[in-house]
């Protein structure tokens, strides 16, 4: 498992870790029931403080992505795929909402926005 953190980024390190683990869970790279590295060994391997990895795991737990069994470790939770999908959709909607409002202010047509999205999709492939 790769986790890449940047010390100079404005995003807090715990958030970087959280996002990367989350992405791996969503993309099924980390499967349900899989054991995550312990807070302390992850801190050591990433050369960061224990509190930082702890915060990342706590946030992941709060959002339901992982589950901590005291004395055993932290596991990828059995998360409802539908729920994750819904969350992601909600995120996309929010982002598009911002895009649309900027478009409306600047008089950019719906067609132009759709073109942009299509170009971006093509690029991805």
């Amino acid at each position: 498992m790769n986790i890449i953190i940047s010390n100079s980024s404005n995003t807090p390190i715990y958030e970087q870790i959280k996002e990367q683990i989350k992405n791996k869970i969503v993309s099924n790279e980390l499967k349900t029931g899989e054991l995550l590295p312990s807070i302390r060994s992850l801190a050591k391997d990433l050369r960061i403080s224990v509190i930082t990895t702890k915060s990342a795991y706590e946030e992941l737990e709060r959002e339901g992505y992982v589950e901590t069994i005291p004395g055993k470790g932290t596991y990828v939770a059995n998360k409802n795929i539908e729920l994750i999908r819904e969350e992601q959709l909600q995120k996309i909607e929010n982002l598009i909402d911002t895009a649309v409002s900027i478009a409306k202010i600047s008089n950019i047509s719906k067609q132009e926005i759709q073109n942009i999205i299509e170009i971006l999709y093509e690029e991805e492939n």
């Binding site: 302390r40 403080s49 930082t52 915060s55």
Partner: protein, 283 residues
């Protein structure tokens, strides 16, 4: 709490520790930072009951550091920057000495460290490099299975490679969540990576003691012009420093500050930035 210092006071002719408070939970690393002469070593000496204090209470493992001194010290490993047994002893000699002091002295572990750190067993430490000397001190400090490590300036005078190795040792030690480390340093970049808590001492007083993430993620350094600076409410910043071309302002919560003021440049601070503004800045 593995270590708790409450209202510690100690007056010297030309220097004074004023109401020092700090607490270190188990499983954590606390970095004690400050300039040379700010009171780091004096604080550590008071914790270890090496000096007499004027007032205050110090508890280690929940026990009074004076009344239960010998019991407590069985479980503490200490590294001091400028002080050691003798330069004329080799690791073999040191083993013979140390096993008398500690009930839990682990000869096997000690020689494992000596080997791991590549220290010549039969050479007196006078002939060691400064990195090797420090590693020898750390090996000695770790070999009686201490629960608390207290280190005064363990990385000063070492090259980056040796410093890095020492940080590794600390992180290995802290894998056991019953352990804790108090480490003083004026090289803040070392602590920036691994410390959970940062306690900043200036002029004998604790200026701040917080989790490192809180400092790095919430604090910000605003850079602005004089006109902009004049519009800022005094209550909204901690300290400021007037430079030749700009004002540098330390704020406690950069997001809140962003919401309130229309100032573009807010940098993520380093521990050193925070330290410098506190020492050099004004309010």
């Amino acid at each position: 709490m593995i270590l708790e210092v409450k209202n510690l006071n100690k007056k010297y002719k030309d220097f004074q520790l004023k109401n020092v408070n700090l607490s270190l939970p188990k499983g954590m690393i606390m970095g004690l930072i400050g300039e040379n002469g700010a009171g780091k070593t004096t604080t550590i000496k008071a914790i270890l009951n090496i000096i007499n204090t004027d007032s205050g209470e110090i508890k280690i493992f929940g026990l009074d550091n004076k009344k239960e001194e010998k019991k407590i010290k069985q479980d503490i490993g200490v590294v001091l920057d400028d002080s050691f047994l003798s330069e004329y002893l080799n690791p073999m000699d040191i083993n013979k000495i140390m096993k008398n002091f500690y009930q839990n002295w682990d000869e096997k572990l000690y020689f494992k460290y000596i080997e791991e750190f590549k220290l010549p067993k039969n050479k007196i430490s006078k002939d060691y490099s400064s990195g090797m000397k420090m590693k020898l001190k750390i090996a000695v400090a770790l070999s009686h299975h201490p629960k608390l490590l207290i280190l005064d300036e363990p990385t000063s005078g070492l090259d980056p490679v040796a410093r890095n190795e020492i940080l590794d040792i600390f992180q290995d030690f802290i894998q056991d969540e019953e352990h804790a480390i108090l480490v003083s340093s004026h090289i803040t970049s070392d602590l920036e990576h691994i410390a959970d808590y940062i306690t900043f001492i200036n002029n004998g007083e604790i200026v701040l003691t917080k989790t490192k993430d809180e400092l790095l993620d919430r604090y910000g350094i605003v850079k602005c012009s004089e006109q902009e600076f004049k519009k800022i409410n005094k209550a909204d910043y901690l300290k400021y420093k007037k430079n030749r071309y700009e004002y540098e302002i330390l704020v406690e919560n950069k997001n809140e500050f962003k919401r309130k003021y229309d100032i573009q440049i807010i940098d993520k601070p380093t521990i050193e930035d925070i330290m410098l503004i506190y020492i050099k800045g004004e309010k």
